[in-house]
Symmetry: C2
Subunit: 365 residues, 2 copies
DNA sequence: CTGTTAGCGCCTTCAT
DNA sequence: ATGAAGGCGCTAACAG
């Protein structure tokens, strides 16, 4: 493997000159430059990234710490990051986090020296005990999708999930629903995700504003996932006084709700309205009403912000808020009139123990 | 930022000694080691990865070149890679490729010096002109999901997609279908993906074995994607003599087929059988019959293989073949008897120009 | 304009 | 068991 020294010899020039043409400095005569270039291509030489990193004191890479990076919402964010990094000089290294232990490892090791020039942390909202690490970090940090009062000291790109939660709930209220369920991740879980909590707040705010009581049995929490949401939805929908509408904290969870409705023989949106959150690509396929957030853009802005911050650190932490938008499709409609005075519904329990494979059937209202 | 030299001074030892305890060499007395360790923790010292890389001549990172890394099948593979790398000392850097130009850039730059100790290339089947780069690479290369005769010289992890294509088609034939369509990516496209082609071969083989004619109008090709598959499916299903079953080259494309069936008022599986490929998580949700391939495992094996190859290069290229499996769910069934002698079906063209949002309804046979 | 020199931080001989 | 010295490949500052 040829080094810069070999090139210098071959071209009959000094070592520094080669370096200069490599970094296209203007301080090289055209003829020398040509000679060096020739030698470079003769030797099939490529500069060593590692050596250059050491010399420059930069790693030329950006690290992303991300939980569960196969979740569609997460990959969209990553795509935004990758896209903007691709047109920069930074490499992208990914640390996927699926356990609390690994999250802590990553926070400790990655943010420290030499692994990256900057870090983007997705959806992981640092605990108070992590803050010291992040507030005066050795390398710049940008948080994406982590909203927390105490995070005001950090650079971040967020969405107003409380407002999103309000928008979703408001939509259902305006349709005339009075029995509105909410299905989400555990509000308290070890990763300290904030989105379910914030959307929950918005949900509560609208209920209150509309004079509707909050009922804890209308709130199904569980691990993130379609299947878990399915189970929670079944619980809500078999309640004596079951909701006529369900707000799911993500499109994935909304899919579980739709599945539950199907298996219980409920028509969507006639018998049950469902609204999701995210506007994944699949939401359109399912004709799912949802709250759109700009996932890909959040990654893009996060990466752009990080690069800015690396280039010149801001005095004050920067916070960028991305908008949300209600997208009305086919899974929400006014409740049936008779739902007003319905008693306890009875469903064939057989379909629960042994849910029929698929018998889906809903129409736009 | 403290260096090894600071630690040495603080501990009152030589620079080499610190290095030794860092790499837990046995050639250090217990007392000295303790003293050094103390200094390290006092100074909150961490060794510089970059310097160590340069000195060791290793990058301690593995690069993955991957097209369209937001596709679910791809992220599953990536997850397998990430998981096995997480428990190793390697970092993972990702090069996402969405254009041919970028693919070529990546092949050129990444495989060359110093960016990584090894490369995993997913689903990108190198052209003959790329082979020289890969056959005597500067760093080890493992291909995942790239099957090609001329690739026998490379390490790789593959699935027998021809067999998978056969299995899918065979299943439909056994159910009694005689009019079987195939919807896939373009068989020839710039990225040189092999999967659609191989599955196509399997499809053809079974048709022939079953004495069924191949009809080119039964093969819909287009760019990868649900929407594109939808449009192709509509074409097939509005043919005068439309197929009673469709084999889609991926679950994503199968979703487009299901959507088309829905919009055309066809019941699945009564009027139309659909089989996909991959067994994505969503396949179960959709009760989609499909060919399962072990996506996550393919990534895992790829990473493991690469690490092996880095540690000691094999004499002969290693090829590992992963199995496929037919998973029968609710979208395939025998054709209706009356389909045998059906003429040209007539569908309301309105539903094509303005497809109804969702009116899905199928049952297991 | 260009050659030379001194690091960047660490690992690894080589003496001791 | 340990300290000193040389080198990994490159950049940047300094003379010329």
């Amino acid at each position: 493997m040829p080094t810069i020294r070999d090139v210098a010899e071959k071209a009959g020039v000094g070592l520094g000159t080669v370096s200069r043409v490599l970094n296209d400095s203007p301080l090289v005569s055209d003829t020398t430059r040509r000679r060096v270039l020739q030698a470079i291509s003769d030797l099939n030489y490529t500069p060593s990234l590692t050596a250059r990193r050491l010399s420059l004191g930069k790693t030329m890479t950006i690290a992303v710490i991300v939980p569960f990076f196969t979740r569609p919402s997460v990959t969209e964010r990553l795509r935004g990051i990758e896209n903007t990094l691709a047109s920069s000089d930074y490499d992208l290294t990914i640390y996927n986090v699926e356990t609390v232990k690994r999250r802590d490892e990553c926070l400790q090791h990655v943010i420290r020296h030499e692994r990256a020039d900057g870090v983007i942390i997705i959806s992981l909202s640092p605990r108070d005990e992590d803050l010291p690490l992040l507030v005066n970090p050795e390398i710049p940090v940008v948080l994406v999708d982590a909203n927390h009062a105490s995070l005001a000291v950090l650079n971040r790109v967020v969405v107003d999930d409380v407002a999103g939660g309000r928008a979703a709930t408001q939509h259902l209220v305006e349709l005339g629903h009075q029995h509105i369920g909410y299905i989400s991740d555990y509000l308290e879980e070890p990763f300290n995700f904030t989105s379910s909590r914030d959307r929950y707040l918005g949900y509560r705010q609208i209920l209150e504003a509309a004079g509707l009581p909050f009922r804890s049995e209308y709130h199904g929490q569980g691990p993130h996932g379609r299947q878990e949401a399915y189970e929670n939805a079944v619980k809500l929908l078999t309640l004596p006084d079951s909701p006529t509408a369900i707000f799911a904290a993500s499109d994935t969870q909304a899919m579980g709700v739709l599945q539950a409705a199907r298996d219980l023989g409920l028509q969507v949106p006639e018998d049950l309205s469902v609204i999701g959150y995210d506007d994944l690509e699949i939401a359109e396929y399912l004709s799912l009403t949802t709250i759109r957030q700009l996932l890909c853009l959040s990654g893009q802005r996060g990466a752009e912000l990080l690069i800015e911050v690396i280039q010149d650190p801001p005095k004050e932490p920067i916070c960028e808020v991305l908008p949300t938008e209600l997208v009305v499709r086919g899974t929400t409609a006014p409740p049936k009139p008779e739902d007003e005075n319905r008693g306890s519904a009875v469903y064939p329990p057989a379909s629960l123990d042994n849910p029929s494979p698929i018998s889906q059937s809903w129409h736009t209202g």
